[in-house]
């Protein structure tokens, strides 16, 4: 029994929307320092399966830092130090026994700028399965590539030109290619760090539709600067400010009736 986990942290909003009682991911008293900078201050949160959790807040509020705690990406930053507990399926991922490569395969990540490899569309998606040896035969690999592109809503647009360079696609297509690449290794969790900020409204709409489709089957956490996007795609919203988690709850509650003054002022655009 871990006293940290068993502490009654539950308020009415940390309860899941659906039947699944235990959280997919949980953070307890997480602090992140970058050198002398205290980027994340004592954050505790439960995140549930089959729903999209949006992290919002002004630049530098700690939302992206928090996102990167779930695949230990912060470790790639020099001088970064993480304390506290981050659990996925009740396993502490900061345990010394954790296989970071396997962790990052089960936690996919999509970035702000689409970043396909300078390889063919096919090879972009096949990259992960080849690396992890998921596919036994070439036809298995073909299947994975097709299924992943299909799931990312890109198959119809690229099926006749799989050998074209991934970087030759439009920005929106590139981002969906990156999503296909992320889901090709069959992750359980997808982290998205402002996945639409470089896209036009039509490409954004496609990604948002995709997020909704991927919701069942994956646990999705998205960092977004657009409050409207958080409102459109998420079931839970978490507001960060100056490194602290200020408020979290069902998205409808946060956008119609936030409890904390700071949340209210931020989402209404009342910065004085």
């Amino acid at each position: 029994m871990n006293p940290m986990i068993d502490q009654p942290h539950q308020d009415q909003f940390s309860a899941p929307l659906a039947k699944n009682a235990s959280p997919k991911m949980s953070a307890r008293n997480v602090h992140v320092h970058y050198g002398m900078t205290h980027a994340l201050n004592d954050v505790s949160l439960d995140i549930y399966e089959d729903e999209v959790t949006a992290l919002i807040g002004p630049s530098g509020c700690g939302k992206s830092t928090f996102l990167r705690c779930f695949n230990r990406m912060n470790e790639m930053v020099e001088n970064a130090a993480t304390t506290g507990e981050v659990r996925i399926d009740d396993k502490n991922i900061y345990d010394s026994k954790t296989d970071v490569v396997a962790l990052r395969a089960s936690v996919g990540m999509v970035f702000q700028r689409p970043n396909p490899f300078p390889k063919s569309i096919y090879d972009n998606v096949a990259y992960g399965p080849r690396l992890h040896g998921t596919a036994e035969t070439n036809s298995d690999l073909d299947e994975i590539v097709e299924a992943s592109l299909e799931r990312a809503g890109l198959w119809e647009e690229v099926k006749d030109r799989l050998s074209d360079l991934g970087t030759a696609l439009s920005d929106g297509q590139q981002q969906r290619l990156c999503i296909a690449r992320a889901i090709a290794v069959n992750p359980q969790i997808i982290l998205m760090d402002e996945p639409c900020s470089a896209l036009d409204p039509i490409a954004t709409g496609k990604i948002e539709e995709l997020i909704e489709e991927l919701r069942s089957g994956f646990t999705i956490v998205i960092v977004t600067h657009s409050m409207q996007q958080a409102a459109r795609v998420s079931q839970k919203t978490v507001f960060f400010n100056q490194g602290s988690l200020i408020e979290h709850g069902p998205t409808v509650e946060i956008f119609t009736k936030p409890k904390k003054e700071r949340t209210k002022d931020y989402i209404m655009g009342r910065y004085g």
Binding site: F255, K257, I267, M268, R270, Y271
Partner: protein, 240 residues
């Protein structure tokens, strides 16, 4: 109520202020239409009643303006939380105020229909009802402008007293009509007028409930106390 900080966008603040001012103006107009209509009735002044009928058009026009500005603000500013609730609240209150204007107009029309020799029995209760309804409109508007939930819930409590007065008046009128058939026409008009005022009280209460929601995000409990029992009254119950 802690006052909210300003928006980064000044034009957005200006729009919300304008919306609030339009509701205040509409409310002031609705209140004065009611006062004027009842004043015309009590003083048997058909000309004053005609003016009420004409003035109601201005409220209708303002309602259209409120709708236009509210839709524009929703479209351009994507309001959230308190701002969103306030705009929705303004939209609903404006249609309630328009309705109150219609009731006042109806009172004025009935006033013009009453001839000078129609005999009225005691109208103290009616004028007291009108005075209370007018006060409720005023308090509801003050509560809206100040986003004051406390004040809004107070309006609701006052509606019960109008309902009680209406019950008394209803019974009185039935009694008069049974005693004197000549009283039937004026008494019927008076009854409808009283009913209009009672409805104004109900609508103002709904508006106050919207104000409460706008200010807090919560709804006042829906099963509010009702005291109008006239729908269930039969002539057997009237002591003559």
């Amino acid at each position: 109520m802690p006052s909210l900080p300003k928006h980064s966008l000044k034009a957005y603040d200006a729009e919300l202020t304008e919306l609030r001012a339009m509701i205040s103006q509409m409310g002031g107009m609705a209140q004065s239409l009611l006062d004027e209509a009842v004043g015309a009735l009590l003083s048997r002044d058909a000309e004053r009643a005609m003016a009420v009928i004409a003035d109601d058009k201005a409220i209708d026009a303002l309602e259209v303006e409120v709708e236009r500005l509210a839709v524009q603000t929703i479209a351009l500013r994507a309001p959230l939380a308190d701002d969103l609730r306030e705009i929705i609240c303004a939209l609903k209150i404006s249609s309630i105020l328009e309705r109150i204007g219609d009731y006042a107009k109806n009172i004025a029309k009935r006033t013009t229909a009453l001839s000078a020799d129609d005999v009225f029995e005691d109208v103290t209760i009616l004028s007291e009802m009108a005075r209370m309804a007018s006060g409720m409109i005023e308090t509801m508007l003050d509560a809206f402008v100040a986003r004051d939930a406390e004040k809004a819930s107070e309006v609701r409590d006052r509606d019960i007293r109008i309902d009680t007065l209406y019950n008394t008046l209803f019974r009185d009128m039935l009694t008069y009509m049974m005693e004197n058939p000549k009283a039937i026409t004026p008494s019927t008009h008076l009854l409808f007028i009283a009913k209009n005022i009672e409805r104004i009280g109900d609508h103002t209460t709904n508006a106050a409930e919207m104000v409460y929601y706008g200010a807090t995000g919560n709804t006042l409990d829906t099963d509010r106390q009702k005291n109008d029992s006239t729908s269930f009254t039969t002539s057997d119950e009237i002591d003559t």
